[in-house]
Symmetry: D3
Subunit: 237 residues, 6 copies
């Protein structure tokens, strides 16, 4: 039995609320249960130096947690003077995930920066971030289309992400913090709307897992992502 009494293949309550910050070209408050992430997408007419003059744009991401998003207060990274390794890892993952379905040529020589700030953390902040980031990104691209800044299909497909893990011997979907801290292994899957894989990250610090276990997690993830993509489509409709 999961601590939250969910079925093994049951997501937490998911909500995707758009337009939550008035200045941003796109924004989304994404909630996976008690995990709440505020995502904004910012369009800028500038590029990283190494990308200038190549006729392509760029999508990048930054990730942060408010100090008291967590059970115990976490030190503010701005005050510590640097982003820790986990933060760096997550924001690189978010950026790669989004770029996988963006047509950077069609975007033109511009940069979209997606900021994911965790307001409350109860496990799965990176998967919630990616799922909400796609919504903010879609709104940002919609904003550009409304101003005739781009033509054609910049966003080729949906992108959503979910975690799975083996908890008490059973493969389960969408781990919350109580499960995540007890799970033998867990994996994060980033997938497209048509079911292909963008990123897989499986980690088994306690007990290495077998190929069959891994396939069971992947099957759960496909189901979860399909549901998240449906919710994204409803949100941006």
């Amino acid at each position: 039995m999961r601590p939250s009494r969910r079925a093994p293949d049951e997501l937490r309550a998911v909500s995707l609320e758009r337009g939550v910050v008035k200045y941003a070209e796109g924004s989304c408050m994404v909630k996976f249960g008690d995990t709440h992430v505020l995502v904004t997408a910012t369009l800028e007419e500038r590029l990283p130096p190494w990308l200038k003059g190549q006729g392509r744009g760029w999508v990048t991401a930054e990730y942060g947690m408010l100090p008291r998003a967590t059970l115990e207060r976490t030190r503010r990274e701005a005050s510590a003077g640097k982003q820790n390794g986990r933060t760096v890892e997550i924001q690189r993952l978010i950026g790669r995930s989004l770029r996988a379905t963006v047509d950077l040529e069609a975007l033109g020589e511009r940069q979209i920066t997606v900021d994911c700030d965790v307001i409350q953390a109860d496990g799965g902040t990176r998967t919630a971030s990616i799922t909400g980031a796609w919504v903010a990104l879609a709104d940002c691209i919609g904003w550009m289309k409304a101003r005739n800044m781009i033509k054609g299909n910049v966003l080729r497909d949906n992108v959503a992400a979910i975690s799975c893990g083996i908890y008490g011997g059973t493969p389960v979907l969408d781990l919350d913090y109580a499960e995540d801290s007890e799970a033998e292994t867990d994996a994060n899957f980033v997938m497209t709307g048509d079911g292909r894989i963008i990123e897989v990250q499986g980690t088994a610090e306690k007990t290495p897992f077998s190929q069959d276990e891994f396939l069971a997690l992947m099957a759960l993830a496909r189901k979860g992502v399909a549901r998240l993509v449906d919710l994204q489509k409803m949100a941006v409709a």
Copy 2:
């Protein structure tokens, strides 16, 4: 005429919503119009090294802005590797303001850290932060009382803050961004529930102001703070 069509002595719509983050001992989402700040108060059984063993506690504050709280995206301080001068100034102000009405001996050898994170900025983020911080702090102290951790009156009075400025030649209360960027001079007042002054910061980068102008601003501020203190009392009742 003010851009917002408010009367010279009229505050923006103010709201103080408590209990917005489930882990924090106290929290408050404070809104002064389109300025939204999420405040949390964290209790920790530890002290800065220089305060140990003196039988007193400490209250400190940290301040941050989400990158897209502003019209243009601001660089994330965690990524820049340091807090800028404005951030440092504001968080020191918030800390001093709160400590002025806390009985640090009665608090005991503990630290309360108040985090003020600006979700959306439309002028007056520091005054909104202080006003909301008092509510989060009061809830944190209530949380301690409910657990018999403290006796007596840790919080001696309310603390609230408001900005005033001379806009188009007229003294006005609670400047929003449109006014703030045009004002000849502006001042921030932090005051107690009984009308005394904790902090005054008046700045006249464009045109120095006369003593009479300054007194007019102070009179407006007293009115504004009295109203904010009423709203705080209703919020925590």
Copy 3:
């Protein structure tokens, strides 16, 4: 009775010695009693990036303390790897104060950097810095005039600053360290030669002060600044 036996409205011995560093376009060793600050003004034909091409110049300030300017040695900020919050606050204040009376258009596309380095600290380092900085700035502008680099009146008025506080229940002028560390409240006033206010910073960490107390401090400050402005005029005559 003040520890220094001064009358409540009595400044410490003030001296403003010009031309103390041979390379600088303007320089001043300012002493308020045992508080000694070396100020230099540097003219550079460059601007911060955000100001380029606007036909205006800039005046900025940096502040530092030699490690043993204080009773106990303070850690060298260059070795600590960053400027602390107090330093940042003070140097921003000095810069704003000077800019309030400089005609930045008349200055042209150039930057003047004022460096205030505290050689010995006995309270009031920020007010001494501002008062001496005006002298160094005036000399730097004189240096430019002598070379026909500018026309007209770049410096519209004098700027000087003084602290006041309530010590032993009495409002007193120009606090030294012994008073400052005991004062219930204190405030710093930056004013122009014609008696208008540029900056007011009043802080009451121990006991909030009433409006009447604040007005008494302001009256003392007007007197003190008027005397400092006289001394500045004599110094640059």
Copy 4:
């Protein structure tokens, strides 16, 4: 045809040379073709603060590249003042991978730090690092056993890692730089001697991959890791 003319399931020439640095408790120069990594394992009788007094030890890793390990010189991280995101990601991966087969209780309250420094980089530096790190770690543990510092089986199994990717439409094993920069997708697999999975990281920045493609990569990886584990066993025999 692969640029190196290797068969799709063919590793580069692998060598694992032990005892290459005289001071270290364990060391290994690992070569996967032209990718050369110098690994040392250091035993220290100290622990990270958060682990003290729990009766367990710790294994951690650091990763670096010599500036001219690469085609173009890379800026030295010590001079840049921080480790970049890629470095942080890799060293966290190496540490997690090694810990998955170490019995931290049996290790006792000690820390082993594994340093992986890339002398020459031709793709696959992280998989070579992990594979060589296991050898250095095994030697370090052997060093402890020879001194009766530990009993029983600290190292439960081998750990090795390999990359796979889809190059020119074909799944291939052990990508070199020429392949890696052209591959549609690639994945790194960290596995145990008995064929279970410790870490999977699949990334498809260009073209998302299907589940079948992913399974093909995993099959190649199992073969490659089995071969690497054989080589490790020969090396430490």
Copy 5:
């Protein structure tokens, strides 16, 4: 002919003024012509961690330049966030030079920190710093003796330093900036009162020098240091 019209073996006017900062246990304003360095010596009852409990004390030094000590303004190191290589080199040299004649056992478990801050720089700031630092150090040790904190001879000998160089083909003593920037080679000598060598640093970036040239510089240096030691003895008498 030297730009300053000095004879080849002629020092600039040297002055050593003691007691220039009221808080420090020892202080000295040292002037070698237009090079002015303010030196303080601070006694602290603490030690660097690696030296604790060994029955010995420590002497260390820090060096800095005020931003406008130089012809062009130099960026403030506290603001740049780090000390540059030249600063680090010089402060290490000063510390080593002083320690060479201090009996660290006789000093006891205490640290003396010598701060050398350049007010005005016209060449030879490191040699002036060392020469003045010895005076401040001697005063600090005198301060301790007057309080019966130490017995016996903590300071075994004088230490002074001077630069020499080959300018226009002629070996000359005590280079000023005009000479230093034109000299083919230069060397700094740190010597004791009895004529022995503590440090020699000879650098020939433009033209390597012969052994005879080096010996000519050393002979000049012995003469110069002997004169500086006489001045130190007069200063502390």
Copy 6:
């Protein structure tokens, strides 16, 4: 008797192996006994900003130690976030030493960066670095000549370096770690192929040395450098 049983004027076994890193324009693994340093020379068509447009090139150096090059593991500088004072001192010395025999005009507007990374440290890492760096630099310049990028004689002479010290009362050549940590005084000499001096750094933290002792060290150094220059000539022949 020296711990290594070498004669007082005997170098350790020296080897200079070229071409050890495939990407670099020049490279050398230099060994002085158990001190091993990997040196690479990188040619780049760019210059430091302050040197642009002057028709001259630049040679600079960076130095690092792998964490376990030493008996005890040293903290990785990239992870500590800065290069320590010793590192900065050494890399500046290497750069100055090389520039002394390079004709920067003949090099043209390009930069050569020499990276010296210590694989194993047993004393004399800076002298080994300089000696090996000259070989890598010579190969880099050869690489340019082979491509007709330069004409004439960019490298005017050889540069090599050696340490000497007084150990057990006797002047000895090429100190290893066992001697270095016990020596009363030591000095590093950087000299040209024709026997002239580029840098001398003599340090006597324990016991100041006499002029005669210094001359004895210098005589040893001349002998040692002459031998190293012979080895360099054989290596690049």
